[in-house]
């Protein structure tokens, strides 16, 4: 066991995967000698050299498009997009190709690649560096989308993403990179994509979230216990596509109340999908309407006011109380 932060644990996963399988290559702007602007690729270039860890021209469509070609030709590329706010350049490649090759060739041509990018707000970053747009990729049939919420699951999810035979979008909540440390086991853990985790059991209300908002959700659950005696069950989705319907539906069947929390905008977001599935599966178990606590449907404000945009502990507590009072 070693204690480390999430930046280190993602780096460790990349290192382990590259050591284990010579087909794994890491590419992107600044990932080589500079070791990534967030240092996620630290030590990789020194250890594995130019052929397996390489700087690319500054072109996101190019990074993803050539990764698709490399994946088709037998490699396992892990492409870094420096900030999620720039991966829209690559959307055509993801939507039209990464997500479709397997389907349109009936399984003959496949694209086992990972696109990883730092996502989300909360680090007082410049414009275009704080978005959470994971829902776009959940809306793209053929992709898988995962988001870790801490050092241990970040490493385990990265291994799963690299092992996966299909393209995986791996969004890293960058506010968490160095926020806290966690024990990470010595042996490699692989977390199945498509499974959620009940991270705090409870019986009165279900709080469903993922990524950076997991911390406020857990803090809110603690506060609700201390102040109201309410036992909140907290679920970390981890995988947004596929979504583990069973885990949250079972929980809501038990609690009858739910709040779904994420940082990305509300309209057509992940929470909208979660609420729909709750309605489709356990509508008559509900004691109150399910609340979506999300980013607002506006661009993330510049950092002087970004904290008003992000769902925080107080907002989660308030949403839960509202649901419980209904």
């Amino acid at each position: 066991m070693a204690e480390m932060n999430m930046a280190k644990s993602i780096n460790l996963a990349l290192f382990e995967a590259m050591e284990k399988d010579s087909r794994v290559v890491v590419l992107g702007q600044d990932v080589g000698v500079d070791e990534g602007v967030f240092r996620i690729t630290e030590g990789l270039h020194a250890k594995f050299g130019d052929k397996r860890v390489f700087d690319t021209p500054l072109a996101e469509s190019g990074i993803v498009g050539t990764s698709i070609g490399m994946a088709i030709n037998g490699l396992l590329p892990v492409a870094e997009i420096q900030f999620a706010g720039f991966d829209y350049y690559a959307y055509q490649q993801l939507e039209s190709h990464a997500a479709r090759f397997r389907n349109r060739t009936r399984g003959r041509v496949t694209v086992p690649m990972v696109m990883r990018a730092p996502s989300g707000a909360g680090i007082r970053a410049l414009e275009h560096h704080s978005e959470s747009r994971e829902a776009i990729y959940c809306h793209t049939p053929g992709l898988k989308v995962v988001m870790p919420s801490g050092p241990r699951n970040a490493r385990a999810l990265m291994h799963a993403a690299i092992n996966d035979p299909d393209p995986v979008i791996y969004y890293e909540p960058k506010a968490l990179y160095r926020l806290f440390k966690e024990e990470v086991p010595d042996e490699i853990e692989v977390m199945p994509i498509g499974k959620a985790q009940v991270v705090r059991p409870g019986s009165d209300i279900t709080i469903i979230s993922y990524g950076a908002t997991m911390r406020p959700c857990l803090e809110a659950a603690e506060l609700l216990m201390e102040e109201d005696g309410v036992k909140a069950e907290v679920i970390d989705l981890l995988s947004l596509m596929p979504l583990d319907t069973e885990t949250f539906v079972n929980s809501v069947a038990k609690t009858g109340r739910a709040v779904v929390v994420h940082e990305g905008p509300r309209a057509c977001g992940v929470a909208a999908e979660v609420v729909s599935r709750i309605n489709e599966n356990v509508f008559l178990y509900l004691e109150a309407p399910v609340i979506r606590l999300t980013g607002y449907d506006v661009p993330v404000p510049y950092f002087s006011k970004e904290k008003f945009y992000i769902p925080d502990t107080d907002k989660v507590v308030e949403a839960c109380r509202k649901t419980l009072r209904f």
Partner: protein, 384 residues
């Protein structure tokens, strides 16, 4: 700093070997055997006949919209004839002759235009990708494949195709730039037919040629007579030799004319003149290559007639096979739409598959356990 002129060692070469009358430039004529030359002609003729037959099939409603390729046979065959089976072929969508030459069964190609994904499945034994509709996006796959060849130490080249309109796309720039920076063995073949649907070349670019764009990437660019199959062959062969020696990519700008509408859904009368088309008609690649072969004593009317009869018979068989396949239970299975998206079918797709099966009155065929929906009426806490 005073004004100065920087000098660059760039030139853009042009290449033409056989003229409109079938006269050959002996110094440039490639060393191909009589058999190879006749084979080349046969592939081009085969492709032409297929294109013509496809038009009939489309008009009869037996296949859907498709982009015609008449007039593009020299670019396609001249280039693809220069690569090995183990090399990579990354197409756009007007390379019918390449698909045929690479061994794609004709019935499979027809299935694609008849609306079946099965038509996009590459055959065994070749490193080919299927048709790519979003223009220029495939160029990045070609570059990535070439980069992987370098990483793996494999001496295979990648042949990829695009049109003049594609050169306006960002992925054209990124594709060539990545291949250039990583010294990837990729040959970028521009089928410059001077039209992107209705827009003539000057609406895509201010440059005189596509070839000169290579200068901006530090790679060789050649303007090739795209109606001269031997010129395309020689230019590609030279590009491949450079690529195999580790000298990286080449851009070939093969000039032709779009002799047909863009697709069967297009009407060029709205945007271009008959005179222009007539001017280009006499430069057409099959006529020219036939004249060359006749002058060499390799081809005559009788031989050509025999080839055409054989080809038409092959096409007839393929159409029959395609229509049998298109009616088969396996290819007409709507529930299969869920089966190939991911290596393992995720639960939400199982649910949706069940939903479609139900609407088809076939719910019993799809396992009920795959549907996690609860029986609402039976187990509800309240109101049930």
């Amino acid at each position: 700093m005073p004004r100065k002129e920087l000098e660059f060692d760039y030139t853009v070469e042009t290449l033409s070997i056989v003229d409109e009358e079938g006269n050959v430039d002996k110094a440039l004529e490639p060393k191909l055997s009589d058999k190879e030359l006749l084979d080349m002609f046969r592939w081009m003729l085969y492709s032409r006949r297929v294109d013509e037959r496809q038009l009939n099939l489309q008009r009869q409603g037996r296949i859907g919209t498709f982009p015609q390729s008449t007039g593009h046979e020299a670019i396609g065959l001249g280039s693809v004839f220069a690569i090995e089976k183990s090399d990579w072929f990354v197409p756009a969508y007007r390379e019918l002759v390449c698909f045929l030459y690479r061994g794609w069964p004709l019935e499979r190609l027809l299935l694609y235009w008849a609306g079946f994904e099965e038509g996009a499945v590459p055959p065994e034994g070749v490193n080919d990708l299927p048709i790519c509709v979003p223009v220029a996006s495939q160029l990045l796959h070609a570059s990535g494949i070439g980069m992987a060849n370098n990483i793996k130490g494999e001496n295979k080249v990648v042949l990829t195709y695009f049109g003049d309109g594609s050169s306006s796309e960002g992925d054209f720039h990124e594709g060539i730039n990545f291949a250039a920076v990583f010294n990837a063995p990729v040959i970028f073949v521009c089928e410059n037919n001077q039209f992107a649907i209705s827009e003539p070349l000057h609406k895509q670019t201010r440059t005189k040629t596509i070839a000169q764009k290579a200068v901006g990437y530090g790679v060789p660019g050649v303007r090739v007579d795209g109606n001269d199959v031997l010129a395309v062959y020689v230019a590609t062969k030279e590009a491949i030799e450079r690529a195999r020696k580790g000298e990286g990519p080449t851009l070939l700008d093969c000039l032709t004319y779009r002799y047909t509408p863009h697709t069967t859904a297009d009407d060029p009368k709205k945007y271009r003149s008959d005179e222009e088309a007539q001017k280009w008609a006499k430069r057409e690649p099959l006529i020219r290559f036939a004249k060359y072969l006749e002058k060499k004593g390799l081809l005559n009317d009788e031989k050509r007639q025999k080839m055409e009869t054989e080809i038409d018979e092959e096409i007839k068989e393929a159409v029959k096979k395609m229509e049998t396949l298109a009616k088969s239970k396996e290819l007409m299975e709507p529930l299969a739409m869920f089966d190939f998206l991911y290596a393992d079918v995720p639960v939400h797709l199982e649910v949706q598959k069940h939903e479609l099966a139900e609407s088809l009155g076939r719910a019993d065929e799809v396992s009920a356990k795959s549907n996690p929906q609860r029986s609402i009426a039976g187990t509800a806490k309240r109101g049930g």
